[in-house]
């Protein structure tokens, strides 16, 4: 299939970006990133600069890939990362617009590569259980209800890609933060630090310049791991409980 790509090019964080148009021949078995590989090989053959994009596992788990495809973070297919999107979902003659995940808390490094270290700092603010190596009791000392463990897992499945931020009109990081807060709040091990954790993480989210949540639910719709917005409601409850208790 013959495709036209309009891709965001930006030399460095300060540069003014622009769209550049390419045509590329793809086949339906390729993944979206393999289609970019093919394009980049062509650019290299012409001694032109290849398009920079983040990627690593290409299995939908590392959270590195990050493209907005035709206006949607990770493209048109629900529950799918960019690397797992295959070209059979496109057709000959399509025009595809590809941009980076945009947010002021995710500055562009180059082309489609953005800096998401703000997510790391949210975790550093409290996304952990304080237990030093060697201090743990036996793994079976505290039984955990199967369903609770399952719900904690569902939240913990977040890959930290940032699509929720890119999808949100306010560039809010609520879904990402709520997923981590909920994962730990649902488990007995997470109880002790429950209140300080949610306060510190929400606070850090604000410091990083992420926007407020206005309940558009665009995050859930574009989250490749289908993390539910119910976790945002849960985090809000956790947060207010913590703030009230703290006062």
């Amino acid at each position: 299939m013959k495709l036209t790509l309009k891709v965001w090019r930006q030399a460095d964080p300060q540069a003014k970006g622009r769209f550049e148009t390419f045509s590329v021949n793809a086949n339906e078995h390729m993944s979206f990133l393999e289609m970019f590989d093919v394009l980049n090989e062509e650019l290299l053959a012409e001694k032109k600069e290849p398009i920079a994009f983040d990627h690593d596992c290409r299995e939908g788990i590392c959270g590195a890939c990050s493209m907005v495809i035709n206006g949607q973070a990770h493209g048109p297919l629900g529950g799918t990362t960019t690397c797992q999107l295959h070209m059979r979902h496109f057709k000959d003659g399509d025009i595809i617009v590809v941009e980076p995940f945009r947010a002021s808390a995710f500055p562009v490094i180059k082309d489609l590569v953005v800096d998401r270290s703000s997510f790391d700092r949210i975790i550093q603010a409290g996304g952990f259980i304080s237990v030093n190596t060697g201090q743990a009791p036996d793994g079976n000392a505290i039984p955990v209800e199967r369903d609770k463990a399952g719900a904690a897992f569902d939240a913990a499945a977040c890959i930290g890609c940032g699509a929720c931020v890119a999808a949100c009109p306010n560039a809010s990081a609520m879904l990402f933060t709520a997923a981590k807060v909920s994962h730990l709040a649902l488990l007995p091990q997470g109880q002790i630090e429950r209140k300080t954790r949610v306060k510190n993480m929400v606070n850090q989210m604000d410091i990083e310049g992420f926007g407020k949540c206005s309940n558009t639910y665009a995050c859930e719709a574009e989250c490749p791991k289908e993390i539910s917005v119910d976790y945002i409601a849960r985090m809000n409850r956790e947060y207010f409980a913590a703030v009230i208790a703290g006062e």
């Binding site: 290849p50 259980i129 030093n132 199967r146 463990a149």
Partner: protein
Amino acid sequence: MELDSKIPPGPIAEKWTRFRSTVPLVAPQNKRRLEVIVVGTGLAGASAAASLGELGYHVKCFTFHDSPRRAHSIAAQGGINAAKNYANDGDSIFRLFYDTIKGGDYRAREANVHRMAEVSVNIIDQCVAQGVPFAREYGGLLENRSFGGVQVSRTFYARGQTGQQLLLGAYSALSRQISLGSVKMYNRHEMMDLVLVDGKARGIIVRNLVTGKLERFGAHAVILATGGYGNVYYLSTNAMGSNVSAAWKAVKRGALMANPCFTQIHPTCIPVSGDYQSKLTLMSESLRNDGRVWVPKKMEDVHAIREKKKKATDIPEEDRDYYLERMYPSFGNLVPRDVASRAAKKVCDEGRGVNATGLAVYLDFASAIERFGKSQANVKGIQNPDAATIRKLGEAVISEKYGNLFEMYEKIVGEDPYKTPMMIYPAIHYTMGGLWVDYNLETNIPGLFALGECNFSDHGANRLGASALMQGLADGYFVIPYTIGTFLSKEIRTPATDTASPEFDKVEKDVRDRIDHLLSVQGKQSVESLHRQLGKIMWDHCGMARNREGLEQARIQIRQLRDTFWKEVYVPGKALEFNPELDKANRVADFMELGEMLVVDALDRNESCGGHFREEYQDSEGEALRRDDLYAYVSAWAWNDSNMELTKEALKFENVELKSRSYK
């Protein structure tokens, strides 16, 4: 060179306990003066950096990824082993030790493996305390399943995303230390070389991948936890960025590479579909718990399937060859990886592969769906359920166990594995070989340690499923915090490393020269295409089956390709900028050298064992022929461009009897 493995004295079950109570300690006030560099934030690196930070050392931690959480460990699917014996099925530390030694085809060091089995139980406790959401039984206790090569259920898992959940646990512990200031984290920083001062590892030269600037970091000791080198084959299940460079730079500075030819081929990967393919996707081994592997018995069926005149489901039961169950009745579909991979190759070599390329076999869940469906119907009190109900109930069980893997398969292949069997084929997956380390996980360079997949220590010639995660976390959480004391206790008076020294000048210059060289070639071939060519040589001659003639040819071809690389490579852009092609070029240049060492090692080892199958050494039934009298050693190689030098560490087996591995 003499290699001292520093195995502590005493009976195997007491070595580690005795070691811990006699190892020299570093007092807390001294820990605060000591700096440690940790390169890598996978399971091994993140757990090590966090634990050392907790103890009070000053840790500087590096990853080329944009976040520590993206390390390749995140992709591990199936599970992690531990000798908890929660299943009450006869497991024990000794049995885990024994299975690992046997599974590794008697080419691993007993003392290290026993220690790993001992601390395996602590790992699970630690991870649970961190909030890792492992699978649980209805009663709320931890659930287990079994993996290839063993007859007990000792594998803990978190759906099909065990590596992700364990890494997020280690990442959270690391994040806590970062917030406390005991670990300083450097993302998008790639180690380019190792700096030795007076023969000891004292620092690294790092490239800031965003700006391209070279930076110097000094410390009292350096830990590498930089993962495996499977990408020397180009196509593998490893993440695109996985590379050997950090370990290779250590080798170029004098560290030894052990058993490089011990590479693991995983039997259940999605087959190659085209020549644009960038990587291969693993379908977890856990699937072999419930999936049955087969190819058609009759060639006419094979042809009909390839021509799409027949589907897998059209082949009647009696015309299917469930070859693993036939060849290995006692382990069946759960034989170890090397055995399963070779069997797949064998039936495909016979021409019975089931896709267009002839390189695929079926992994079929129909029987499991039926079995689970019936049992669920029973549980739910449904009398005489019809086939559709059984199917539906059975599919639900399979979905709960493997849902994400089935989805992943469907996304990639575009076929529904609930309705039609998966197609799979072996692919490079893991590297047992790695930097030579002693019992302390220290390389032959004093002060340089290697943890996780980048060392050679625990898996011999073949790794059992769910044991890499165990090893990575054992090394990082429970071993290095003790063993690093053997070195650092002697360094408490050593001042902070001066990075303005001539030693740092020299190494930084070497790095800069090489980058300039890469950029100056301005040839006609892309890094990717050269890497692809290397991968093909490696896979064709040093893959699932190897022989002298092929290996000798491969060595010549790799040399030629390396020359071509340095004459023909095209790297665009500049040194001082974000330049992913340059990053890749640096890594592939190292693979060109490692590839040759791998082949040289495979040539030296005139036997078949584990993942290393030399066609000259097989018995009348085609099974691997190990030669314990001649090759019960670890091969440790020093790099030398014209003549690589081999040092042997003899392996002594005092606690298990050397037997030929049988899974029949």
